[in-house]
Structures are given as C-alpha cells and as structure tokens.
C-alpha cells in the first residue's frame, strides 16, 4: 500500500523575475494493494511530479510518503535504491536503452540487482513471453513500434518483481488501438500478478477503461478522489465537474448551447434539464413514460452513454415542455427512478 500524506513539491523561483512553482500542493492519496489507481488532470496539473514523489525521483518539499506503512520520504543511497527496485515505472516515451537489444533492456535491472546469469536468462524469457514479445528478443528498440516498445518497457519494469507499477502517461504517445492493447495488458498483469498499478494520464478513456479508483488533479491539488464510477456519475467538486465536462462530449454540448439560435431556443420559458442515470435505468424509456404519465414532452438535445469498467453511465440533456406543474411532477418521478436531474438553463 502506498500513501501520500500532505505532499507538496515547491520549486524555487527561476531567474530574477521568476515566482516559486507549486507543482504539487498538499496532496494526499492512498493506493491500495492490487488496485489500479488513476491520477487524471490536464497537462501541467502536477500529475507527473506527484507520481515521481512516490519513488522519490522528486523529493517532496513537505509531507510524507509511506510504502506499506514505512516512511520512505527521507531514504538515501542504497536504501533508497532498494526501495525503488520494488517499484516499477514506465514512461510516455518508453525510455529504452537504444544501444541494447530488447533482451538487454529487460536484463539490465536484473544484472544490477546481481541476479546470477542463468536465472537472468530464464527470467528475461518469461517476462518477454508475458508481454508477448518473445520473438523480438534480439531486436533493437529502434526496430520496434511504439506499442512494442512500451511492452518491452513493461517487461523491464516488472523484472525485479515490484509490488507497484507506475505508469507516467504510458499510452499518451500511442494510437487508440495500441493504447487499448497496452491497457489490456496492464489489466491482465494486475489480475495475474496482483500488482498495484498507478496510472497517470490526461486521457479520460484510459481511466474509464482500467481504473478502479482515481484522483483528479488541478493546479497541483487533488480536487476529488474516489471510485471511477462515482467520480464520473456524481462529481462533487465544481472543478472536477468542469474537467469531466470538458474532457467528454458534454463540453461540446455546452459550447453549442451558449451560441445564439442553437438547438436550445428557450424563449418560450421552458428549461433544460440535465439527467444522469446509472446502471439499469434507461433514459429514453423514461422520456416516453413522463409523456404518458404527465403529458410532458421531452426534446432531447444531447445524449451519451459511457461504459465505465463495463457499467453504463448515461447523460441526457432535455428540454421539457408542458404544464409547469406537470413538469415538476415529472422531474420528481424521474428522481424517484434514481436518476439525477438538474436544471441547467
């Protein structure tokens, strides 16, 4: 288990007119054993710095880093290196050693950990089979595709049997199809090895696809943290909400919505309601029910269903027209069905 307690990283001012930079500001989080934890936010939110505080590639200015209950924040020298060997890390640009073959790259951490030669060979073979690259053992990184490079990097990161794998924007340089393959591999490794995975990303799809829990970061602060489904279906913090909206199709909807003469012409005094429904309730069916029950007409302006780790999360923006009293009854009915309804305009 990894815990960050009130971790801050402040860079001193650069140059004469520079100001100090609070890359991470009082961030606390906990990564449980065996889970896939996501840290998501826009570029510059401090995600990469935060994840580097875990293996102390960046030393926090204040706060504590606990690994399995042990405070590692102040470790130095050999102890620090031993701690790092227990944490694997992969990067956006793979960072494979170009002068070494695939084999050589995977073997490198084992060689430095003083593992005997025969054992090393066997381990490398096993790791490459695990990531599906046994046939490219003799190739050089420059001969591989991005996805293959990341697989090699994963094999290398797992060489010393770490308990945690840190992924710093590991899929950001890959195309969507390759991204899915790498995510699948990570999920599979998480399941088969029981390894905890910390995923840093700005891609919402990555978090939706594999993370159990996630934290959202903005300006160095963690604005919200919880299970991915809760975060997406019921964000509490306004900035979390803004982030989720901007990163999904809803953002586009809000934009057109503010334009003159757009889909939502509300001169007749009606309102737009935003419905968020989870699990089984189906939005479209609900719309026909309220028409039958309350004669409230629902003009659908926006609709989207997300699948988060296989669970549907629907979003619907509707312009409700009808008798105002009936509308409020309809809204109450909708809410009774477990659907979140808010008036947005």
């Amino acid at each position: 288990m990894i815990a960050l307690e009130h971790v801050s990283k402040i860079y001193p001012p650069q140059g004469r007119h520079g100001a100090e930079v609070r890359a991470v500001d009082d961030a606390s989080l906990e990564v449980r054993d065996g889970e896939i934890f996501g840290i998501i936010g826009f570029s510059g939110a401090g995600k990469s710095t935060l994840v580097r505080c875990i293996n102390l590639l960046e030393r926090p200015t204040s706060g504590r880093v606990l690994i399995d209950g042990r405070d590692v924040t102040a470790l130095e020298g050999a102890e620090l290196r031993a701690m790092r060997r227990g944490i694997g890390m992969i990067f956006q640009h793979f960072n494979l050693m170009p002068s070494r073959t695939v084999e050589g790259n995977v073997e490198l951490p084992l060689a430095h950990a003083k593992v005997p030669r025969d054992e090393r060979r066997a381990k490398v073979k096993k790791l490459l089979e695990m990531v599906g690259l046994a046939d490219r053992a003799r190739a050089y990184p420059s001969q591989l595709s991005g996805g293959q490079k990341q697989r090699v990097a994963i094999a290398r990161a797992l060489a010393c049997d770490p308990k945690v794998l840190l992924c710093d924007e590991a899929t950001s340089a890959l195309d969507p199809q390759t991204t899915m393959q790498i995510l699948k591999l990570l999920k599979q490794l998480n399941a088969s090895l029981g390894i905890s995975v910390v995923v840093i990303t700005h891609q919402m799809s990555v978090v939706k696809e594999i993370c159990d829990r996630a934290a959202i970061m903005e300006h160095g602060r963690i604005t919200e943290c919880g299970t991915v489904y809760d975060l997406f279906s019921n964000p509490k913090d306004p900035s979390t909400r803004a982030f989720l909206d901007m990163a999904s199709n809803v953002g586009a909807f809000y934009e057109t919505f503010d334009e003159q003469g757009s889909l939502a012409d509300l001169r007749d005094g009606t309102h737009i309601w935003f419905l968020t429904y989870t699990g089984k309730s189906a939005g479209e069916a609900l719309m026909s029910r309220i028409y039958q029950l309350y004669c409230v007409e629902a003009n659908i302006l926006y609709g989207d269903i997300d699948y988060i780790k296989g669970r549907p999360l629907g979003k619907l923006a509707v312009n409700l027209r009808g008798d105002p009293r009936n509308i409020s009854l309809a809204v109450k009915y909708i809410r009774d069905q477990g659907v979140k309804a808010e008036m947005i305009k």
Partner: protein, 229 residues
Amino acid sequence: MNSLNAFINWLMPNFEPLKGEFFECFTDTLVMIAVSGTIAWFLGVALGVALVTSRKGGIMPHPMLFTACDRSIDVIRSIPFIILMVLLIPLSRFLVGTGSGLAGSFVALVFGTVPFFARQIEQVLSDVDPGLVEAAQAMGFSPFEIVFSVYLRESIPGITRVTMITFVSFVGITAIAGAIGAGGLGDFAIRYGYQMGYRDMIWLTVAVILVMISLFQFIGGIIVRKTTH
C-alpha cells in the same frame, strides 16, 4: 627488391641516409600518441563525466566541483599550446623528472588535449536522453552504475566520433611539441624539410601522418557503425 629500392631512391633521394632517423622519429611520435593519448583520453572522459554529473540537475550535483572543472578547462584552453608547453616545464620536471625530450612532452600534450576533449565529451554525454537517466534512477541504479550503463554505454558512437576529431588536433600538437625538443615527426619535418629544405622528406612526413589519421578514422568509423542502432 632492387627495383623497389631504386624506385624509392628516385622518389625520395634523401631517404636512404635518413632512414634510421626517420623511423626513430616515427616511433617517438607513436609513443607520444600512445602514452599521452591514452592518458588524455581517460582524463578527458573522466572530466567530461564529472562535468555532466556534477552540474545543476545532474545525478550528483556538486556546484563547487563543477565550477572548478568548468573554469580550469576554460583557462587552460585559452592558452596557446606552444606557450602552454613552456609554462608547464616545471610541472613536467616535478611529475616525470624532465621538462624536455620525449618524456618531457607527455605532460604538455595531456594538458593541451584534455580540456578540448573533455568539453566534447561533456557535449556528447549531455545529448543522452534525460529520460534514460530517469529510467535508470527509477530502476534503482547507483550514480556509478548510471555513468557506466547509461551515460558512457549509450554514448559510445558519440565518444568515438569526438575521439576521432580530437585525434587529428592531437597529432597536430605532437608536431608542435616536436619542434621544441620532443622529437617525433614534427621535429624531423622541421629539421630536414624546413631547415635543410628536403622537399621529399616533408612529403614523406605528410604521407605518413595522413595514413595514420586515415587508419584511425577508418577504425573509428567501424566502431560508430557497429554501435549505432
């Protein structure tokens, strides 16, 4: 065999009487290159590594060490070699016991080469992707391991390339050293080619140096090709 000798005599009429001396001078040059070159190479690489690791943001930041290395390189590099040689005579006497002759040239040749070479090594090592260093740190490598397994290992083509460049200017300064008493091909060329005006001996010296440098470039080229992936 006779016809070959006749051909050489026709080509270089002054060669026959100077043959012995020429080979002696050639050997001196080879000794200068082997001894000073080897020492200078290792010192240069070490200094280059020191610069890259000790600078701000390096793997073992040490501002004092960095500034000391950085400044002394600049100072030594600004002194013209021929003046540096004279300047270093006392140091040479202290280190190798003499300030003149072949042995007396070693110190000056090392001082004349290391700063230039170290700067180039620094440049080559700076070109190593910081991501590789970070990955090595994340894998729990010690600074020592990072220097050898990442910085030096990943820079073999670059180090070879700058070694070849430095070699050319290094051969240049061995000739200057020769002119002020270290012996070697430079000395030979000055004495017979310049003072006696034997044009054929100048040509011979030039040809031998060209062959030497070409051979070195050729080997370097192979190393670069074999280590670039």
